[in-house]
């Protein structure tokens, strides 16, 4: 919000400066009015592009942001989340165990807990649920 106010203030100031500058330049006769207009056009053209890009970027970022909050709400621990990520990559329990340097038993425990917390019966269903809950970057 502060950023928005700042940006708009800067824009207004820039506009005023341009007004004064153009008036001076025109009165002094150094620069023709065409050039002034062209400069203003180009400047605001790019300002438009820039503003639009920022607006779209924010929209995209709001989606994959809710992640961690929901993970907490579901009571999923850090380690469990790591396992969930590996599951979504298509790894087997044994492969996950190797990747995280723990035993397969541990992974099984984590997976079992995950299934309860995600209300899933299978790991494939857990992947779907996690995707729906926007817990994963997929």
């Amino acid at each position: 919000m502060k950023k928005t106010i700042f940006v708009f203030s800067a824009l207004i100031v820039a506009l005023l400066v341009l007004f004064q500058l153009s008036k001076y330049a025109y009165l002094s006769g150094d620069i023709s009015i065409e050039i002034i207009i062209a400069i203003i056009a180009v400047v605001f053209f790019f300002i438009g592009i820039h503003i639009n890009k920022k607006a779209l970027r924010k929209k995209e970022k709001t989606t994959p942001e809710i992640n961690l909050k929901k993970v907490e709400q579901l009571g999923i621990s850090q380690r469990e989340y790591e396992v969930l990520v590996q599951i979504s990559k298509g790894l087997s329990n044994k492969e996950i165990a190797n990747a995280l340097f723990v035993s397969e038993s541990t992974i099984k425990t984590h997976v079992s807990n995950l299934l309860v917390k995600l209300d899933a019966k299978r790991r494939t269903q857990a992947i779907q649920r996690a995707k729906d809950l926007e817990i994963l970057g997929i």
Copy 2:
């Protein structure tokens, strides 16, 4: 490409028209230069936004299209693809069998063939591969 040329031509024409218009308006003394500048600024601001939006829209549309071609290339049959979709939904073989009104044996056969064609060892990996190949609407 034709569209781009057209758009830019239109832009240049618009710019020239604005030049003449502004000169006339200024000389006739009806409108002050500030207003002319402001109008030009606003117009080009929105032109910038519009151009940027179109460019971004094109980028997004090129992605989710390639589907069916790759399915053919991989030699995945119609029925196999249906099974793949059900797998990605998180269903078990038995549940898929019920959904498609066939026996679990049949589903197992399809799944086995799918795994070979998708070069996957598990159904979770098959989901990942399918997603990477943009075969699924996920």
